[in-house]
Amino acid sequence: MPNEFKRHHLELNQVESFYGKIQALNGIELYIDKGEIVTLIGSNGAGKSTTLKSISGQVQPKKGTILFEGMDITKNAPHQTALLGIAQVPEGRRIFPRLTVRENLQIGAFSVKDKKVIAERMERVFSYFPRLKERLEQKGGTMSGGEQQMLAIGRALMMRPKLLMLDEPSMGLAPIIVEQIFDIIKEMNKEGMTILLVEQNAYQALQIADRGYVIQTGSIVLEGKGLELMTNQQVREAYLA
């Protein structure tokens, strides 16, 4: 099995996705290895979210393949991909507004039957986000943007994912909150979580990422180590100015 050595945790080969007749991805090529933080940066409408949605199954690619731990997940429905251990923190957080904080977290562990395991995972989430513990019975929709982002990440952690995908976690948040969220992302990664981070805030993202990809109109135009990309002339002009 010579491939065994080369196999990546997640691998996208020539993925093409459409919204109706409009092509959003023109053959995306990227991979993530276990334990990495990889970031996907690019401007609005470049195809960042579509890439995530193609992985999670919310958008079905027309061409190309997506392999997760060697398994072909290209045609999976979202709940099947989630069961395999890929969690997505969607853009705009998408908290269930009329469920309580507790219920939002429980939903994250929907596939887990053992109540003890659910309680353990919840404690783990509280260790990252102590504030959630104080608000357990509050409705998700009544929380501030920062708290909702914490809840959205906490909800994804309840799945104990093998790969955590975050879609614009800094969107609409005060700089100090963004700082906190990124610290926690870094910490989760240190503890072994593989992370795919999609960001418009390229500076923040590249600072914590092992590697990065730059996406432009549905294609990967640049890839490299986080720090390399940060000093790249093109990237500086386009995204860090």
Binding site: A82, R94, F96, R98, L99, I107, F110, M159
Partner: protein, 330 residues
């Protein structure tokens, strides 16, 4: 005039609650499906109707094999309810699979699903009519008597302002069973895992699927529960009112839907309260319209009265009595 109204008030409340509980359970079926799919499932009234006929068929069958006389009525009733609920529940799941899911897959506009549901409604009416006529030669069916002893509650001797109340023993059954169904459903939706999944799917289907929830399964469960409750209520209706025909689902469905809107569509507790309120209003109107208008309008105008109230409520509270004003998604 006021004295007359007060005299019969206890009777009005009893009759209004009976009807109101029936509306409430059927209204739940509308509101649950709307909450999840934003679809007004017009076929639901006819699932209720089909339930009443399936119940009648089971009852007739049990009569023909002699169960009706040899078993206690309550056991017969429970068997009939259980069979009907399971059959109509599965029917609801089947309707969703065959008619609505393919439309959803193709992202058809909501209007198409609505028209489809009206089509299913006609299909159910005609299929039921066909079998009823095939078996009995008539599509209007009078159910075998069950719980039809007349009872009188003499509150007149305690409180002379009120008249006596009379009712059939089936009233007690309708009352207890619908309350059990309402409470059980409330517990299911608010306290169980699949109930929580149902609420999550209603609030944000896409995100729910990211949480490893099989959205199609949740939708099937919703249809099963709504249709099973609706079908079982059809049996209650048959026992309470005696005669059924394939068209009872239409008006009752419209009214149950109205009750759901009155309570705030998508809101399950709202549908319950809306149903009870509508039943009370309707019975109040039926009993008192002629007194109030000095004979100008009879009981047959009860629907007009009930719907005027509905329109008034919606003018001042368009989201329904217990609905939440629509909040923009952030």
């Amino acid at each position: 005039m006021l004295q007359q109204i007060i005299q019969i008030l206890p009777q009005v409340i009893i009759d209004g609650l009976t009807l109101g509980f029936v509306y409430a359970v059927v209204a739940i079926g509308y509101t649950m499906v709307y909450g999840i799919l934003e679809l007004i499932n017009f076929a639901h009234g006819d699932v209720f109707m089909t339930g009443s006929f399936i119940g009648a068929a089971v009852l007739f069958f049990m009569m023909s094999v002699g169960f009706l006389s040899s078993l206690p009525s309550l056991i017969v009733f429970i068997i009939v309810m259980a069979i009907t609920a399971i059959v109509t529940g599965l029917m609801g799941v089947g309707i969703e699979r065959v008619a609505y899911r393919p439309l959803r897959k193709r992202n058809a506009p909501k209007l198409i699903a609505l028209i489809t549901s009206i089509g299913i409604s006609f299909v159910l009416e005609d299929v039921v009519r066909f079998f009823a006529e095939l078996k009995t030669g008539n599509y209007i069916i009078t159910s075998p008597p069950l719980f039809n002893q007349k009872m009188t509650l003499d509150i007149h001797s305690v409180m002379p302002v009120f008249n006596k109340i009379t009712f059939q023993s089936s009233f007690i059954l309708v009352f207890i069973v619908t309350i059990i169904m309402l409470i059980a459903l409330d517990i299911f939706v608010n306290r169980t895992k699949w109930g929580m999944a149902m609420r999550a799917v209603a609030q944000d289907r896409e995100t729910a699927s990211l949480m490893s929830i099989n959205v199609n399964r949740v939708i099937s469960i919703t249809f099963f529960v709504g249709s099973a409750l609706g079908g079982a209520t059809g049996v209650l209706f048959m026992i309470q009112y005696g005669t059924i025909d394939p068209y009872i689902g239409f008006i009752l469905g419209i009214k149950a839907f109205t009750a759901a809107v009155l309570g705030g569509i998508g809101n399950i507790r709202g549908a319950m309260l809306g149903g009870i309120l509508l039943g009370l209003l309707e019975m109040f109107a039926a009993a008192n319209l002629s007194t109030i208008t000095h004979g100008a309008m009879g009981a047959e105008y009860k629907d007009v009265f009930a719907f005027i109230i509905l329109i008034l409520v919606l003018i001042f509270k368009p989201e329904g009595l217990f609905g939440k004003a629509v909040v923009e998604k952030v």
